[in-house]
């Protein structure tokens, strides 16, 4: 979006390996070499983080310089004559690798990184054929810093990537260096253990096997896995996570090729919290309450029982309530509301609302290009965060803003109920006591924000209902271009809204023909049938409850029929992140006995003799693309693992006037609703369950 003021960029012409190239003055030589295809090996250089010039792998020959120069720190200048493959350069690389390997344990056969290791690759390509080192190697024992992070100093090549990603990338700064010379090693700044985000970014960025993951270490060799790139099913940010799968088991979550919207970012949930998937409490058989007890039954018995109950209730003119999920796919939620509205002829449909997107769309009616994407967060000149501990609740959005601050000097302003991590680099951080005070704090910022060229405002459930219009009016009063993000909690919270899981709004925020009950009212209304898909609203006083879930949640435990559903890592479909970016899930594994929610609904419909259309995910997506406003997303983009921007309605949205129903669950970095409780990786760290707005950010 948001183009910066054009500045005069001077270009210079230089020669690399006899080829003439032009590049903007000041570009790092290593980058220019990369663009040209002249490979310069590098360990410590990592695009986007501060320069180190420590590994000396990138030395090149530049005419008129008496010594080889580190291309990772030399800016190109006019007339430079560079050689990247001269005998001196080739020899220097070989010598650096010889030094590097001298104290390296060479335990590649058992190292987690084997096959994915930059040191292996470099040695293969540039290293010497023989070793001249015959001394005793320096050895120190491996250390465990947390349940999820282990460090093996002998393998560490001291490239300081981990230190930088943690400090500059995350803003945590948990890692440092101790001792000196050949004894130098990485340590937690806190002492002998980590007290940090437990995000594993350090593990991911480590070029060698020095940092290993508690969830994955010594479990397999990388090439024994299939790598399935899908979307993390925890928070609303929608990071791509690559699941490493061996014999129908997820062994690893990581950020294998950095090809997602999240680049090199992934938090602990995306990296480790896939383990709920094979938790021993997973439901693997349908359950029917008989004589007061839930007992296992066959799928056909259970489906028939549900269909019979639904049909009988309908025939008797009974009442229904339907509550959908915030982790379910768009296809599932779309099909669910269609089932409810067209099949069961009920208007009682809702979900767990965590952010007031409808109010925002209504307030923005008539304005175009006002919804920010995750890219915008990296490029905007200024951002204002309202009512969210962003680094914990929206870790990828926080990462984008921090990178923007680091790379483009973006100004970040926060107005929050307590201390947030953004304060360490924010242009201003204001704390409010009550929501009433919130707007007073915004007024304090008004003049500074007016001076900004543009702004992205991210706001949580602290601003909802009529306050959203007030916030947009405030944005208008600044006289600059303003874009917005209404923060929502879960992986498909936004999709549930877009797909019309609301008692007053159908898909695409169009008014539902008839208005129904909101979730809390359904629970209290003594309905004949309550149908819950992937949610845990509590039982309420419905006469009969059907629940589709992965676990025996309190709602499921009190239900009459429970159908075990597949997780997001076991099915296809699309999800929409907090910024409206639509991405595709890819099934990585299967759990015997479960079925995806879409299939469950389709089978119930068939059993009932309802015609709701073909219920495979691609057919439902086709229907969504043609019928839901803003969802005509390009298929090739999402099918190839990209993110397509949904463009929701531009016009007035009829609101149900129930802002009190919009409530964020206030998850921390270590909680994630039901899924989080069933992730041992999350519950095992000392930081669990964590606290928002804590003072030691």
């Amino acid at each position: 979006m948001m183009t910066a003021t054009p500045t005069e960029v001077t270009t210079v012409t230089l020669s690399i390996n006899g080829q003439s190239v032009t590049a903007p003055a000041g570009t790092l030589l290593i980058e220019v070499c990369k663009k040209l295809g002249a490979e310069v090996p590098a360990f410590c250089y990592y695009e986007g983080f501060s320069l180190q010039a420590a590994c000396r792998m990138c030395l090149v020959e530049i005419e008129k310089f008496p010594k080889l120069q580190a291309s990772c720190t030399i800016p190109v200048s006019e007339g430079m004559v560079v050689r990247t493959e001269s005998p001196a350069v080739v020899a220097a690389r070989k010598d650096m690798l010889e030094f590097l390997l001298s104290n390296h344990p060479l335990d590649c056969p058992v190292c987690d990184k084997g096959g994915e290791c930059e040191l292996q690759d470099m040695t293969f390509r540039y290293g010497a054929g023989e070793s001249r080192f015959t001394e005793i190697k320096v050895h120190t024992p491996e250390k465990q810093w947390s349940p999820v992070v282990f460090y093996d100093a002998p393998r560490c090549i001291l490239c300081y990537r981990c230190v930088r990603v943690c400090d500059e990338g995350l803003g945590v700064g948990a890692l440092g260096i101790q001792y000196r010379g050949v004894g130098a090693e990485i340590i937690p700044n806190m002492g002998d253990h980590l007290n940090c985000d437990e995000c594993g970014a350090c593990i991911d960025i480590c070029p060698v096997g020095a940092l290993t993951s508690g969830a994955y270490r010594y479990k397999t060799r990388p090439w024994e896995m299939n790598h399935v790139g899908t979307v993390c099913t925890h928070c609303s940010n929608g990071c791509k996570t690559t699941l490493g799968v061996r014999t129908d088991e997820i062994i690893r979550g990581n950020n294998r090729d950095h090809s997602g919207i999240n680049g090199e970012f992934l938090c602990g949930k995306g990296r480790y919290a896939f383990d709920f998937n094979k938790h021993e409490d997973r439901l693997t058989s349908p359950l029917i309450r008989k004589d007061g007890q839930l007992v296992e039954v066959s799928w056909s018995e259970a489906l028939k029982a549900v269909a019979t109950k639904f049909s009988e209730t309908q025939a008797a003119g009974g009442s229904f309530g339907v509550i959908g999920g915030v982790h379910s796919t768009n296809e599932e939620n779309y099909f669910l509301q269609k089932f409810a509205r067209q099949g069961l002829k009920t208007a009682n449909i809702d979900h767990q609302r965590t952010g007031d997107v409808p109010a925002l769309l209504d307030a923005l009616s008539g304005k175009s290009d006002v919804l920010a994407t995750t890219d915008d967060l990296y490029n905007t000149a200024a951002a204002l965060v309202i009512g969210s501990d962003l680094a914990q609740q929206h870790p990828f959005l926080a990462y984008q803003l921090r990178a923007n601050g680091r790379h483009h000097n973006a100004r970040v302003y926060t107005v929050t109920p307590g201390k947030v991590r953004e304060a360490d680099y924010a242009a201003a951080s204001l704390i409010y006591g009550s929501t009433a005070e919130l707007f007073a704090k915004l007024d304090e910022l008004r003049d500074r924000l007016k001076a900004e060229p543009e702004l992205v405002i991210l706001f949580s459930d602290a601003v909802k209902g009529a306050d959203v219009a007030k916030l947009v009016a405030y944005g208008d009063s600044l006289g600059i271009k303003v874009k917005y993000v209404a923060l929502v909690d879960y992986s498909n919270s936004r999709g549930a809204l877009d797909m019309g899981l609301l008692p007053t709004l159908g898909p695409g925020y169009h008014a539902a023909p008839v208005s129904g009950l909101a979730a809390p009212d359904m629970l209290a209304a003594g309905l004949d049938v309550l149908w819950v898909m992937g949610a845990d609203p509590g039982k309420g006083n419905a006469k009969f409850t059907v629940v589709q879930d992965m676990f025996l949640t309190p709602t499921a435990a009190a239900a009459d029929i429970v159908l075990p559903s597949a997780s997001a890592y076991e099915k296809s479909g699309t999800v929409t992140n907090v910024c409206g970016q639509v991405q595709k899930l890819k099934p990585a594994v299967r759990t015997m006995g479960t079925k995806p929610d879409l299939e469950i609904m389709g089978l119930i419909a068939r059993e009932m003799g309802l015609n709701l259309g073909i219920w495979t995910h691609d057919h439902v997506l086709t229907e969504i693309r043609s019928s839901v406003a803003g969802y005509n997303v390009p298929l090739p983009v999402i099918q190839t693992g990209g993110a397509a921007q949904a463009q929701p309605v531009n016009g007035r949205v009829p609101l149900d006037g129930r802002p009190e129903l919009v409530q964020s669950a206030q998850d921390t970095l270590f909680t994630s609703g039901t899924l989080g409780r069933y992730s041992k990786a999350l519950t095992s760290v000392i930081e669990y369950p964590g606290k928002l707005y804590s003072d030691n950010q």
Binding site: L51, Q52, A53, A54, C55, R56, M57, L59, P66, K67, L68, A70, T73, A92, D95, M96, E98, F99, L100, S102, N103, R132, F133, E135, I136, V138, I157, L158, G176, I177, Y179, R180, G181, V182, G183, A184
Partner: protein
């Protein structure tokens, strides 16, 4: 306390006061001997005039690299809106070097006056004297002198009514040689780990807290008052062309009369050893000579005798004047042990930031340990030279070169001593059990 008796061949400019009977280095004593007058003179001069005098004096940095001081001061962007800083490098950790200690211990106000003049030039209002951690007692001396200077009105606000403000603090290092390297020193001074910085930018432009900083050796600052006193020209004339003035020279090792002597630049080595230093210990022959601290390439006795103590003469002979820490080794010296001792130092002091120095020094130390213990092979001797060569010019900071240069020169010039220690001279079969044991 002075190390040694003064010698008549010395030219005492920086050390002139400390040899006066009863001189105790207090502010009163310093003032009595004309101290702080040059600062008042500097206040009357323009910054450019002062820099001009320093340039004329041919003063070159006394910390080891010998960079012309006037030129360095000229690089400081005096118009910059950022605060300017004065930083004194008193880390003095180079083996063989012990001169800054003599200056701080005996005439600390001379250093303070030098800082004041530099502060006057660039408009700095704050300075730090970074003192080697092992020099604990010097910190007390420096702090006492700073206190005195505050009380006498030579530090603080509106110094002696000149309108100049200048605060000075002594800061202790924590025992790292690398913190003598200027950018690592600045990191350490800022409270961080003492790893060197990427340069450029150089401290003159972005030094302490990324602000323009004048960073010089103790002796460099201490030379400045005398330059203003004598005039740059007269000061330059004490030395030789391109290297003005005097140099505090530390005679260490196998001298009869080791000590710190102030000699003019260009002083003949032969005269320095035989007269000033009282000759080689026990009348022995000089086997090896290091002109300026352990990072300089080692010269053989034969190479060193005809040289003069100045930058060009030493460079022509393939070594360096360095910091003025002369190390003399007589004919009884075991050069393999000397190489090992030097490498032990660098392996211990390598900060570990970059691969070639971190791994290279440690590997070399192990190799040399083995060669010294008699369990090396001819290939190991080549390997020592080769590894040192592979470090040279490729490390992040000059410490790697400092480790490589003496090592390469010792292997080249004293190879026979390494060979004499080889475990298995091919012609001698291993026979006795004793020999087997000694092979380890």
């Amino acid at each position: 306390m002075l190390f040694n008796e003064p010698h008549p061949l010395e030219t005492r400019v920086l050390t002139k006061r400390m040899h006066e009977p009863g001189y105790n280095g207090t502010v009163e004593a310093y003032e009595r001997y004309g101290g702080y007058k040059q600062f008042l003179k500097a206040v009357e001069m323009t910054p450019d005039d002062i820099i001009g005098e320093v340039k004329t004096s041919n003063l070159r940095g006394r910390g080891g690299a010998g960079f012309p001081t006037g030129m360095k001061w000229g690089f400081v962007p005096r118009q910059s809106p950022k605060p300017k800083y004065i930083v004194v490098n008193g880390d003095e950790s180079e083996p063989g070097t012990c001169k800054d200690r003599v200056l701080i211990e005996n005439d600390p106000h001379l250093l303070i006056e030098g800082c004041l003049i530099a502060a006057r030039v660039v408009g700095a209002e704050r300075g730090y004297v970074y003192i080697r951690g092992e020099y604990r007692y010097l910190i007390d001396i420096m702090e006492r002198a700073i206190d005195e200077a505050y009380r006498a009105g030579w530090l603080g606000k509106n110094i002696k009514g000149t309108g100049i403000n200048f605060d000075l603090r002594a800061h202790s290092g924590a025992g790292a040689y690398e913190c003598g390297e200027e950018s690592a020193l600045l990191e350490s001074l800022e409270g961080k780990r003492g790893n060197p910085r990427i340069r450029p930018p150089f401290p003159a432009v972005a030094g302490l807290y990324a602000s323009p900083t004048v960073l010089n050796n103790v002796e460099t600052f201490a030379a400045v008052p005398s330059i203003l006193e004598m005039g740059g020209k007269a000061w330059a004339d004490l030395g030789i062309e391109k290297a003005g003035g005097t140099k505090l020279t530390c005679l260490t090792g196998h001298f009869n009369k080791p000590g710190v002597y102030e000699l003019t630049l260009g002083f003949p080595v032969e005269k320095m050893i035989n007269e000033v230093g009282g000759g080689v210990r026990g009348g022995r022959k000089m086997k090896a000579f290091i002109p300026g601290g352990s990072s300089c390439p080692v010269l053989t006795g034969d190479e060193a005798w005809p040289l003069n103590m100045d930058y060009d003469s030493m460079a022509k002979a393939g070594s360096m004047l360095g910091s003025g820490g002369v190390i003399l080794m007589d004919e009884t010296t075991d050069m393999v042990k000397a190489a090992l001792r030097i490498m032990h130092f660098y392996a211990h002091e390598s900060c570990g930031w970059c691969i070639p120095c971190r791994e290279g020094t440690a590997w070399l130390k192990k190799l040399l340990t083995r060669l010294d213990a008699g369990s090396g092979s001819a290939r190991d001797i080549d390997l020592v030279g080769d590894l040192a060569k592979n470090m040279l010019g490729r490390t992040f900071c000059p410490l790697g070169d400092a480790a490589a240069l003496p090592t390469m020169s010792i292997v080249k010039k004293f190879r026979h001593e390494f060979e004499a220690k080889l475990s298995r001279p091919v012609s001698v079969p291993v026979t006795s059990p004793d020999q087997l044991v000694s092979l380890g």
